[in-house]
Structure formats: structure tokens, C-alpha cells
């Protein structure tokens, strides 16, 4: 099973740290980072559906200008099911707002949520969980 990552976060520092942590866990993992969620969804839309076994985990921030995490998930859920299945959205946010948390977790497309900051431990356990679930 091949895993890849897409990090969507308006903070340059958070993108940088997330990339470094992912690469630290496994150098072979492919990581793309976007500071603009609108750009990310456009690229996901345009990507052809491949039939390989891979899965891409999207680490999604909630509060962003232009397109926030909620709007991103809404756009994502409009994609063909075949394409949606190639991705798994994990929200990565510093929010403590109970409304925001229950609202974002109510979307089918959202798998789970991690509280910022992302650490090696959090990412390692996420990767293990996903790999075990898939094998």
C-alpha cells in the first residue's frame, strides 16, 4: 500500500513542519503542500483517477482565507465517489471551538481530527492506523 500526503494550511511554517515530520517518519512518502485550499481542490479535481492501490491523506487546516476547511470539504464531496475513495481527509487544526469540531466531523468525507501542533507521535500513530486498516 502506497501512502501519500497533501497538506493544506495557510501558514507557511505549519506546511514546512508538517512536511518535515512526514518525511521524517518515512522518506519515501510523497508530500505536497498548499497554502491555498482553492488551488488544492482544483488540482485534485484535474488529477485523473488512477487505478493503483495508493491512498492520499489530506491534512486539512480549518481557518484559512479564500477557502476554509469547511468549504474545501463541501467541494471535495462533490467529486466522483471513485475519486473521493483515493483520499482520506484528516483535519489538523488548533481550534477548541466545540461547534467547529462537531460541524467538521459531521461530514462523511472527514475521517478524523488532530489537534495542532502536529508531532512525530501523532503522525506515526495515524500512519500505523491507516496502514493496518488497509491491509
Amino acid at each position: 500500500m502506497k501512502l501519500a500526503f497533501i497538506v493544506i494550511d495557510d501558514s507557511e511554517l505549519d506546511c514546512f513542519v508538517s512536511r518535515k515530520i512526514i518525511e521524517h517518519v518515512d522518506k519515501s512518502l510523497n508530500v505536497k503542500t498548499y497554502q491555498n485550499a482553492e488551488l488544492a481542490i482544483e488540482i485534485i479535481k484535474d488529477n485523473p483517477i488512477d487505478n493503483s492501490e495508493g491512498l492520499t491523506i489530506i491534512l486539512l487546516d480549518l481557518h484559512m482565507p479564500i477557502m476554509n476547511g469547511f468549504q474545501f470539504v463541501e467541494e471535495f464531496e462533490k467529486l466522483p465517489i471513485q475519486k473521493q475513495k483515493k483520499y482520506m481527509i484528516v483535519v489538523l487544526s488548533s481550534t477548541r471551538n466545540a461547534n467547529d469540531i462537531s460541524r467538521i466531523l459531521s461530514y462523511n468525507g472527514v475521517e478524523s481530527m488532530l489537534e495542532k501542533p502536529l508531532t512525530l507521535e501523532k503522525l506515526t500513530s495515524l500512519v500505523h492506523r491507516v496502514q493496518q486498516g488497509l491491509n
Binding site: K20, P65, I66, P117, L120
Partner: protein, 361 residues
């Protein structure tokens, strides 16, 4: 009093209406209605009616019943019942329920009516002031809610970013990689610092009083030029300032400086990195007591669909992480205090021009 108090009198006897109007029309603006339907349409058409007199004994509906109804639909006008000594029970009941401000007994004396209007008017003014204050408080409370929500996120987000970076730093051996991360951490902290300064501006604009003095735009711009010339050189942007002031201009320099600072820092922040001839032009023209400022850039521009929202608190139209969502809101608040106006004209990839006009005070 400059404007006559508007009152409404409801009675099913035309003679009473005529008599009432005749004796009071010089001092008050008197409207009359022969039944409650007419009275209701009158209340709907004249939202500024302050006092409603109503006869108790009318066919179909009693005065008490009518007042019970309009207490909900038209809460502001003060309700006074006109009645003979009958129905004492229902009147006492209505007064106790708060449906009636007071009553005048029939046949009424002009002095009684005038005294009643006088009291009712005082009550009306106090009530409507409360109403306005209440609305203001509600608005302030809503803004505070939004404020607490956004501020807690906007302060916590960079902190958790930096915390995450420090956490991961333990795993980094490469010095270059470390330096790169330090640079991004510094950027995050600077952003947080700017955010807190803007928050302070926000607070002082909301609470502060104006301090009016002579404003010398040449002197003001000299100070700003010193700051922005450095930015213009490092970003390779041509920076031109033209000032034309031959008359005294009186205003508060602090909000004016805040306006310039925000517009200029935006002009340099959202510059178009892909083009060669980049420029920021500032012109100030003071004429006939009005200062007209233009800040024109050749930057990335603002998308048409975002223009209507850029002055809203916490709105950010660009994904570059530099914005706090305070800047243009603060500009608008400053202009509100100075009685000024702002217009924006923007074309994507060509640039943005802000035009500000401020009257001398």
C-alpha cells in the same frame, strides 16, 4: 420644542374626535381614528406617533383590548385610556398588566390631557433611548463574540505552529534546514506581533476621543517615507509621494497616520512579483477644506467578488499569510471617526487604487 409631538386619538364618536383635535391641534400634531382598524393603519403609516389615546367604550373592541393588541405590534407609543367611571375592574387589571400608561377620565379637561401628554412624552423618550442603547449593546456584544472567536484562533494558530516547530527541532541535524525553520518561525512571530498591534489600533479607534490639531501632510509623509523607502528598495518598487497643501487642515493625525500605514503596507505587501515596473504612488491634495488622498499600486489586485467584503472585520481576500483581517476594517473605523470616505478601484494583475477623502474639522 422644534417639532410637535404626534398623537393619535381613537374614539367611535365623531364629535369627540373633532373636539379633541380642535383644542389640541395648535400644540400637537393630532391624528384621529373612528375605529381600531383606522387606528392600526394610522400607526403603521406614522411610526413616529408617541402617544395614543383611546376611548374605552367602543363597539366591537374595548380600548383595553385594543391596547393589549398594539402593545405587541407597536410597543413604542405610550398608551392612555380615556374612560368614564365604569369598567373599573378591567381598567385596573389593564394598568397592572402594563398595557396602559395611565388613564384620563371622561369628560376630560384640556389641562389633564396636556399633563398626560407631557408625562407620556418623557416616558417615550426614556424608553426609546433604552431601545437604541439596547440595540447598540447587542451589536457590540455580537462583535465581541466574533472578536473572541477570531482572536483566540488567530493568536493560538501561530503559537501552535511555533510549538510544533520547536518540538520537531529536536529531530533536525541539518543546520541549513534548522535555519530555514528559524526564518519561518521568525516570520510567524512577526505576524503575531503585527496582529497584536492592529488589535490595539482597533481598540483605540473604538474607544478613543479625537484630538484635533493642525495637520501638516508634508511632515506626516516625511516620517512615513522613511519607513516605506526601505521597503520600496528591498522589493524593487518605485515609490512616489506628491503633496499639495497650501492651506490649514485640521483633524486628528493619529487616525490619518493609521490610514496611510494600512494602505501603504497593503500596497507593498500585495505587490505583483511577476512584473517588472512596480510602483506605489501616493498623492495628497488639500483643497477647500478637503484632503483627498490616493494610494495607487501596481500589485496583484482584488477580485471583483471580494471588493464588497474587504472592509469587514477579519475578512482576508488573499491567501498570503501576512494579513490579519484587521487592516482595512481599522481604516474604515478611522474614517468613520474623521467623517471621511473611501473608494477602491482594482483590476486583477494591474493594481489597486484607494481614494480617501477627509474633511477638515
Amino acid at each position: 420644542m422644534s417639532e410637535k409631538i404626534k398623537i393619535l386619538y381613537v374614539d367611535d364618536e365623531p364629535d369627540n374626535l373633532v373636539g379633541f383635535k380642535a383644542s389640541l391641534r395648535l400644540d400637537y400634531q393630532v391624528l384621529t381614528a373612528i375605529n381600531t382598524q383606522q387606528a392600526l393603519s394610522c400607526l403603521n403609516n406614522h411610526q413616529d406617533i408617541k402617544v395614543v389615546f383611546c376611548d374605552q367604550r367602543m363597539p366591537n373592541v374595548t380600548g383595553v383590548e385594543f391596547f393589549e393588541e398594539i402593545r405587541i405590534s407597536h410597543p413604542l407609543p405610550v398608551r392612555i385610556l380615556i374612560t368614564a367611571y365604569t369598567d373599573v375592574e378591567s381598567i385596573i387589571n389593564a394598568i397592572n398588566k402594563g398595557n396602559i400608561f395611565r388613564y384620563v377620565k371622561k369628560p376630560w379637561l384640556e389641562s389633564e390631557i396636556i399633563a398626560a401628554i407631557d408625562e407620556a412624552n418623557k416616558f417615550y423618550i426614556a424608553n426609546s433611548m433604552l431601545f437604541i442603547k439596547n440595540e447598540e449593546l447587542q451589536r457590540a456584544y455580537n462583535e465581541l463574540n466574533k472578536f473572541a472567536y477570531s482572536v483566540s484562533h488567530d493568536i493560538r494558530a501561530p503559537l501552535s505552529g511555533i510549538l510544533g516547530a520547536i518540538n520537531f527541532a529536536r529531530e533536525i541535524d541539518d543546520v541549513e534546514e534548522m535555519k530555514e525553520m528559524m526564518y519561518l518561525m521568525e516570520k510567524s512571530l512577526k505576524k503575531l506581533d503585527t496582529y497584536i498591534i492592529s488589535m490595539h489600533d482597533y481598540y483605540s479607534l473604538q474607544r478613543g476621543e479625537l484630538k484635533i490639531a493642525d495637520v501638516d501632510f508634508n511632515k506626516l509623509m516625511d516620517e512615513l517615507k522613511a519607513i516605506y523607502t526601505v521597503l520600496s528598495k528591498t522589493n524593487n518598487v518605485e515609490f512616489n509621494v506628491t503633496i499639495n497643501q497650501n492651506e490649514v487642515f485640521r483633524s486628528d493625525e493619529v487616525p490619518i497616520r493609521l490610514i496611510f500605514n494600512n494602505l501603504l503596507s497593503n500596497a507593498f505587501k500585495y505587490l505583483d512579483k511577476t512584473r517588472d515596473n512596480r510602483s506605489v504612488d501616493v498623492t495628497v491634495e488639500v483643497q477647500k477644506g478637503i484632503a483627498t488622498l490616493h494610494v495607487k499600486d501596481t500589485g496583484v489586485g482584488i477580485l471583483g467578488s471580494h471588493i464588497g467584503e474587504i472592509f469587514n472585520l477579519f475578512y482576508r481576500a488573499n491567501s498570503q499569510e501576512a494579513g490579519s483581517g484587521f487592516g482595512l476594517y481599522n481604516v474604515k473605523s478611522a474614517l468613520l471617526k474623521l467623517n471621511g470616505q473611501i473608494e477602491v478601484n482594482s483590476v486583477m494583475h494591474q493594481g489597486t487604487t484607494f481614494k480617501v477623502t477627509i474633511p477638515s474639522i
